[in-house]
Symmetry: C2
Amino acid sequence: MSATATTRAPADARARFRTGLRVHTAGWAPGHAQANLISVPADWAYEVLLFCQRNPKPCPVLDVTDAGSWTTPLAPGADLRTDLPGYRIWKHGELVDEPAEVTGRWRDDLVSFLIGCSFTFETALSEAGVPMRHIEQGRNVAMYTTSRPCRPAGRLHGPMVVSMRPVPPQLLSTAIRESALLPDVHGSPVHCGDPAGLGITDLGQPDFGDPVDALPEDIPVFWACGVTLQAAVMSSRPPFAITHAPGQMFITDARDEQYRVA
Amino acid sequence: MSATATTRAPADARARFRTGLRVHTAGWAPGHAQANLISVPADWAYEVLLFCQRNPKPCPVLDVTDAGSWTTPLAPGADLRTDLPGYRIWKHGELVDEPAEVTGRWRDDLVSFLIGCSFTFETALSEAGVPMRHIEQGRNVAMYTTSRPCRPAGRLHGPMVVSMRPVPPQLLSTAIRESALLPDVHGSPVHCGDPAGLGITDLGQPDFGDPVDALPEDIPVFWACGVTLQAAVMSSRPPFAITHAPGQMFITDARDEQYRVA
């Protein structure tokens, strides 16, 4: 099914993912904040939190659980082990599985981080008239690993990952302004225009997600992306981690508006 | 001396504090971000960082050092052990000393947190026409412990502390808007008007800093304050901590504008 026209309350969406629906979540539950998930052993929690503090554009922290807990005040009643469409299991930096739920993989020492997601500002951009071409095309957003290193934190290091949306030139200012007002969900773009500025050689070959069809006059606009933490897992090789599958986010009950600064 | 009309570059200000000048820093080095300091043993660092994440209005993190380090990229060449006007030494939650520098008290396991300070937005408010009455009166800003608990993080808990500035009614909207655009330095107020709403019984008796003279029509406006972490130290009693003395901040080289979202 296409997610394009789907409008569902967060709890309804989570219930459908819990019973096995695997989709990317762009366009789902418009107006509600979506989040990246990364769960690491408690021994790595400080470095993940510090990495996020040192790299706030890609890694804005919305919530951190206590060790072992799979609940969050951002979505009362939700279960972080089952309520995302898809997960990734990482061992020593290698992707070893992409299950639909992780109940059997859970550990008492896992600390889970919910990180802001650019899907959250897509509603604001749409309402301001900026077309969301990947949603129109029923695709996951295109994400790219860049040549820009994050500031490391202890053992944790890696490159910044960005999401890209093609924006008509006359709407570039609107897109920048609207996203800047939501700094906790990546805020303003980190780069506009020539992808070479971020070390990206081919927009047609994203590292995560799907390529998107752009109009000739569109400007590629790049926002810092929470998948940066998956790139850090790949680079830094912690013994164990669970993340969301790219584009298959945790949908919270929080309203986008809650993260708007003015 | 009064700090009222003093305008000095950050490095000059830090050099004067390093050689012993003890003043509150409101109005110093206008346009440059000021910061609260708290240094704790590494064993407490995760809980401090998580406390900040869970209480972003009082505790916006600007930088975290590696253990033992007294330097920060926010002010190259500065020494966090000497470059503030005054410090506080805490043992098991008790204030045991207020020295002018802490070189002899430093420990290899101390992790230092620089937390955004409302002095940072005072320049923006002044430029927008909002009077800063405590600066006009040559006083430290008035700070109050509230009845509003912070969200705890592990062993760390305590009440929110606020700073208060009297604002003429016709400028209330301006004060809220200008500070909202600086979310990393406490952002918009947490409360306006009747101090009883925060459990404050007497504005004339601040818990930190000096009382301020207001005009009869002024509205008291309360911003979350980084001294909240000192209140958490008092409540949670870590074995050791170093903080700045209230109102005697670390002046960074960062421009206020760097923290403006739009």
